[in-house]
């Protein structure tokens, strides 16, 4: 029995963002541009997968215990995933990965700052734990945007192209639907539209330091949170879920 469907869905959104972002970053393992970055990419992945476990195990509890965190992670199909489209976008080149991370980290940092004040004590304590880790992620991704943007002609061009290419996936971060509004009335969550101003402020300031242009395009992609995904998610899940699909219930 589902105790609170709105809360369950919201926890899936949070957990799926972390899980899919963590899986994408894990694809860099052994392929980082330098050893230190290989370690950094996988360290960030590890933090996010740890946070995904916290969100998804609480989601499983709220759902009523019919499924556990592993079943939620490994036995749902793409249409039942509720992550934003941004996190499932392919790694591309290193600038593409950094642009995706920079947009995500900045948004997630401001979201977690808010969620520490959630009226739901479990949500508040997971946010309190996570925000300390994300404060490191967001500083690193900004460092790289500046280093590549204000680097060589080639790194500048690639960083600007990545910032432009992923921009249309950022609108979804600040959208609400009926489900969000129910939780906002209970002060479990807060209006995501209010995260937009501090997000744009930080992004614009870092891009300025990086000698990059803030994109002006206004048309935005959407659908991930409702389960309507880009083609990329299916391929990602095919790899991530292979073991549990081929050998159901396998464990270490």
């Amino acid at each position: 029995m589902v105790h609170d469907n709105a809360l369950f869905q919201y926890l899936l959104r949070l957990g799926d963002n972390c899980l899919i972002m963590g899986q994408r970053l894990s694809e860099w393992c052994g392929h980082g541009p330098v050893l230190e970055e290989d370690l950094a990419l996988t360290n960030v992945a590890l933090d996010l997968i740890g946070q995904a476990r916290l969100w998804l195990s609480y989601a499983a509890h709220v759902e009523g215990g019919a499924r556990d965190e592993d079943q939620l992670a490994f036995l749902r199909d793409a249409g039942d995933f509720h992550n934003v489209l941004l996190v499932e976008q392919p790694n591309g080149n290193f600038a593409d990965t950094i642009a995706r991370q920079f947009y995500f980290d900045t948004w997630y940092y401001f979201l977690l700052l808010d969620l520490q004040r959630s009226a739901n004590p479990r949500v508040a304590e997971i946010a309190e734990k996570s925000v300390k880790e994300v404060a490191y992620h967001v500083r690193r991704s900004a460092d790289w945007v500046v280093r590549l943007g204000d680097g060589t002609d080639e790194s500048h061009a690639k960083m600007q192209a990545a910032i432009d290419q992923l921009w249309s996936y950022t609108g979804e971060l600040f959208a609400s639907d009926g489900m969000d509004e129910a939780l906002q009335q209970q002060k479990v969550t807060f209006d995501p539209a209010k995260l937009r101003a501090p997000w744009v402020d930080h992004v614009a300031s870092v891009l300025d330091e990086a000698t990059l242009r803030l994109p002006e395009q206004t048309w935005m992609q959407r659908g991930g949170r409702e389960g309507v995904h880009s083609e990329h998610l299916g391929y990602l899940l095919a790899e991530m879920q292979f073991l549990q699909r081929a050998y159901p219930g396998a464990h270490w």
Partner: protein, 174 residues
């Protein structure tokens, strides 16, 4: 009453249990114990069951599962049959809870201990510098440079020393 006394499980004192836990080493940094690390938040008896509350360092740290296993094994070796290991998230772990002995041992082991207190989460503006001066654990020099914010484990960053030229790990303030 006498019959009850002979049936009762012997319950070692909490002080005794803490001494035993002080022997359980961090699997990644074996010179410090789980107590030095500050992750054991509570130890108490609930009737015949011992409860040990542990808080994770980083939410995805793989060492946490090994630490839980090591605590179980150590206490079982001292005759604790019924143990409940509780994971406690709040208040979130901070490097402020590292013991003074733990920090000294980190330095002797070649890992620079955290300089400032908890990580500042209040703002992310790049106009305010948050980078502390980290002294080299090998030669003590303050001329050191951050190589990467992420090192060989989630709790460490990578630095190098401009004087003795040695790279070293820095235990990040958290």
């Amino acid at each position: 009453m006498e019959a009850l006394a002979t049936d009762a499980v012997v319950r070692p004192t909490v002080e005794q249990i803490l001494l035993w836990l002080n022997e359980v080493a961090d699997p990644e940094i074996p010179v410090i114990s789980v107590l030095d690390l500050g992750i054991v938040r509570d130890v108490f008896w609930r009737n015949e069951e011992l409860v040990v509350a542990v808080t994770p360092t980083y939410s995805g740290c793989p060492a946490m599962a090994i630490i839980a296993q090591d605590i179980r094994t150590a206490l079982a070796g001292h005759g604790i049959r019924r143990l409940h290991l509780e994971t406690r998230l709040s208040p979130a772990w901070t490097t402020d809870w590292l013991s003074a002995k733990g920090k000294a041992r980190l330095r002797d082991y070649g890992i620079a201990p955290p300089v400032q207190q908890v990580i500042d989460i209040s703002g992310i503006s790049r106009k305010v510098s948050t980078e502390p001066v980290v002294n080299c654990p090998h030669c003590g020099s303050a001329h050191t440079q951050l190589i990467s914010r992420f090192g060989s484990t989630p709790c460490k960053a990578l630095y190098k020393c401009a004087d003795c030229r040695e790279p070293f790990d820095y235990f990040k303030p958290h």
